[in-house]
Symmetry: C2
Subunit: 503 residues, 2 copies
């Protein structure tokens, strides 16, 4: 037994160490943010080595024996608070997991990812999957090796999903998709029998500066703290955080697509409101980190879809849109506008798809990944399989690899097991929003007046505050009274699109 004073001292050492790791990670995040926003082109090569050096240092710090022995001596100590004990056990899990990677494996993975990312870039540019095939095959071999290093139950793919969404399994996702997709298919068929809303006016010309200003205004209205964050431009929108007082989001502007920037702004704002809501005092500790990718995505989806694509939201914001772009929208009623931004249409590109067909995109990737990791699909057969699945589920013909299996960066990074978290995010979002409405039945009518502070407070109290002390399912239970229940998402779709498409 260690004395209480000693426990407190060791915990302090541990806390200080973790905060230093967080400092390095913040520097890394800044370097990556800068690379996507402002870095001059020739800076790429040296930036890559600077990132590599800091990554290595962070990795050394989270696998150092000193940390291991602190964690071992503190594990389960009754002199610690519940949160402290949870921090210790979560950090210990991370530590033991990281220790499973031999340095040679880490180096090989890093080199292979670097090569495969370059190959993917080139392959996508030329729209030729075969230029990516060998590197991807090599990477998949390494990922399989990784599943063996980490260990798993039942399916090797579980080991990979666990990286992004702890406890998430093939059984769970199979069940979720198995239950949901036929129903989504059913809704989609009804939608396709109805006459589609006219959304051509969304693709006229919209001054970029005016779009930007509108986006900034909307972000501010939603509660983004511009004293603790900023928005910039980048090729692909993303959000990142250096600490809760410096959270950054990016967007891109398409002059001929009104929805493109605006919904990306709202989506990233959802991510950033989560980061701005993490507890300051827990910086560097599990209790100060986001819970999982699924929960992170639930926040972006909740704001993007349940708020940003709602009738109530546009009741407040559409007059402003009309004021800014009077010529384009003068003939368009609020109702027509609302229907247009909610148009459902099967398409080729995941990131541009609507909130219903989105999940077919995810499911197809999920099924392919499972097969690849289990060895049931050869890398060379990906394009054919991809195209067949898109025909089967979405009835779209894939014209080339660029718009097909080369569209996403994830595989080239070795991020297998990531996609399912996008769908989980949507499903959690629907459940959270339903629960928030239940706890405040006036929530929608408040939104009509532009007031979303109550919703944000609800999210802060139910979801943001616990860091990753609780896992996704525990958070879900605390916030909504039950674990993940995809019926909320289905009910939401049925209600919303039943009205829009009148079925």
């Amino acid at each position: 037994m260690i004395k209480i004073a000693a426990v407190k001292e060791i915990y302090e050492n541990y806390r200080d160490h973790m905060r230093r790791v967080a400092d390095i990670k913040a520097a890394l995040a800044l370097m990556q943010w800068d690379q996507e926003t402002y870095m001059p082109v020739k800076g790429t090569e040296f930036r890559a080595r600077q990132v590599a050096t800091l990554s290595e240092m962070a990795h050394e710090m989270i696998t150092t024996d000193k940390l291991g022995s602190w964690l071992e001596s503190l594990e389960g100590s009754s002199s610690l608070t519940e949160t402290e004990r949870k921090n210790i056990s979560l950090t210990r899990e991370d530590y033991l997991k990281q220790k499973k990677y031999p340095p040679a494996f880490v180096r090989k993975m890093s080199e292979t990812v670097s090569r495969s990312f370059n190959a993917w870039n080139q392959a996508k540019k030329e729209s030729r999957f075969e230029l990516f095939e060998n590197e991807l095959a090599e990477l998949i071999l390494l990922k399989k090796e990784e599943t063996e290093l980490l260990g798993y139950q039942k399916h090797p793919y579980n080991a990979l999903m666990d990286e992004y969404e702890k406890g998430c399994t093939v059984d769970l996702i199979d069940k979720v998709f198995g239950n949901m997709l036929p129903k989504l298919r059913n809704i989609l068929e009804k939608i396709q029998q109805a006459s589609p809303p006219d959304d051509r006016f969304l693709f006229k010309s919209f001054d970029k500066k005016k779009q930007w200003d509108l986006g900034m205004e909307v972000i501010a209205e939603l509660g983004f703290d511009f004293e603790a964050g900023r928005q910039d431009l980048s090729t692909h929108p993303f959000s990142t955080s250096f600490n809760k007082f410096d959270v950054r989001i990016t967007t891109r502007i398409d002059e001929n697509d009104f929805s493109s920037m605006l919904f990306s702004c709202i989506h990233e704002t959802g991510h950033s409101l989560y980061e701005q809501g993490l507890p300051e005092s827990e910086y560097g500790l599990p209790s100060g980190e986001y819970a999982s990718l699924g929960i992170h995505e639930s926040q972006s989806r909740l704001w993007e879809n349940h708020v940003g694509r709602s009738r109530s939201f546009w009741k407040f914001h559409y007059p402003r849109v009309l004021q800014i772009f009077p010529d384009t929208f003068q003939e368009i009623t609020e109702e027509k506008f609302y229907r247009a931004v909610n148009k459902i249409k099967p398409s080729l590109i995941r990131t541009e798809s609507d909130e219903l067909t989105y999940h077919f995109h995810v499911m197809i990737r999920y099924e392919i990944e499972k097969m690849l990791i289990q060895g049931d699909l050869k890398t060379a057969d990906i394009p054919a399989c991809w195209n067949e699945q898109y025909k089967k589920w979405l009835d779209v013909d894939v014209p080339d690899d660029r718009q097909g299996c080369l569209q996403d960066v994830h595989w080239s990074h070795g991020s297998f097991g990531y996609f399912p978290t996008y769908s989980l995010g949507s499903f959690y979002a629907a459940q959270f929003f339903a629960s928030a409405v239940k706890s405040d039945p006036l929530l929608n009518s408040k939104m009509e007046k532009g007031a979303t502070g109550g919703l944000l407070l609800w999210l802060r109290q139910r979801i943001h505050g616990s860091g990753r002390i609780w896992n996704s399912e525990e958070i879900c239970k605390f916030a909504t009274g039950e674990t993940l229940n995809v019926q909320y998402f289905l009910d939401y779709l049925l209600d919303k699109y039943g009205k829009i498409y009148e079925f």
Copy 2:
């Protein structure tokens, strides 16, 4: 004797280690750049701790015993090239110097600087020196302690100047100023007897966007590589570098002062052209670093004054200025414009002063610093001493501390011994420029056509390429055939201002 193969291997270890240190320093520089340009206000506190963590890591790496033993075993090795030997001996000097600082001293200095910077900020805001007095006194005590830790010959201030300009001594600066100031005084008197150029038109209203665009154009014309750098806005202009392919400068725009932004752009461009000219392969090693602050400043001053304030430069650029601001300048001839941007007038603020009176500002700070470090002046007496000196040398009355002894940030940072490098930079600049003209007598007439590539090439070959393998005086000798000779600066002033003021 170590075998050649072993020597090569140890040198590789050393090189790799130094490059990793450079990676961390680059991350630090990025964090500081971001803080001055884009960071949201609430980010300050966590950024400070992130910077502190990385600074400590860098410091640990440059004082680690492992490095010490590599350096010891390689020192003077005949299996190394001359540059390699020089790198080893310079790094060893740094290493031994850093080792002289006890960790407790480093921590105390860092805390004191932090407090004194805050005190200075407040004191400057309220224009009350007494709010800064105690913290400054404490800091000066520490700086004195530092001179004892480092050791020095003759004057403790030598130890401090050596930080910024190796080998620079009180004897040298006393001699330089002693020789120069009476002559500057003499020129100034002649100027004050002549009728001053009218520069009121420079203080009309100038659209900020147009100013920015003009600045960017000028920077590009001077050879700044925008693929290996960028310009942004910040409160105080500065330049920084993460490696030769990512060099960043900043500026600020005063709507009612045409000169303010433009000359700051040219000044910072001078700094950045130096950084963009350092040898890529020497990244992280002394052979890849700038030689000294004096040499750095010589580059900014050369471009700002010898290029940017020259008749030839404006012959090419003034037509463009006329085109951009036709209303303001329509009555102003190129000659009138040239005289206006070269107006000499004693003033209160160093950073806004002209190229002649600038050196009185520096000399006054230098004399005060020497006295403070030697204990010949009490902190409380700084304002009175400052004001008296400004009256004596520049005949200006200091109305308050904000415009007097609180104007510069340097002392609050503990940067004693820094100011003299500003003057040295100007003197080196004049000597370098005279030498460049001697080697290409057509240099000025090329400038009239907007061509400065030959001058840049000359600087690259004579000054930029050797990193800090050579010290300032060695570079000066190589570039000009002789060591520092302030007569070049005096001749330049006499010739230029003799014509402008007709004496």
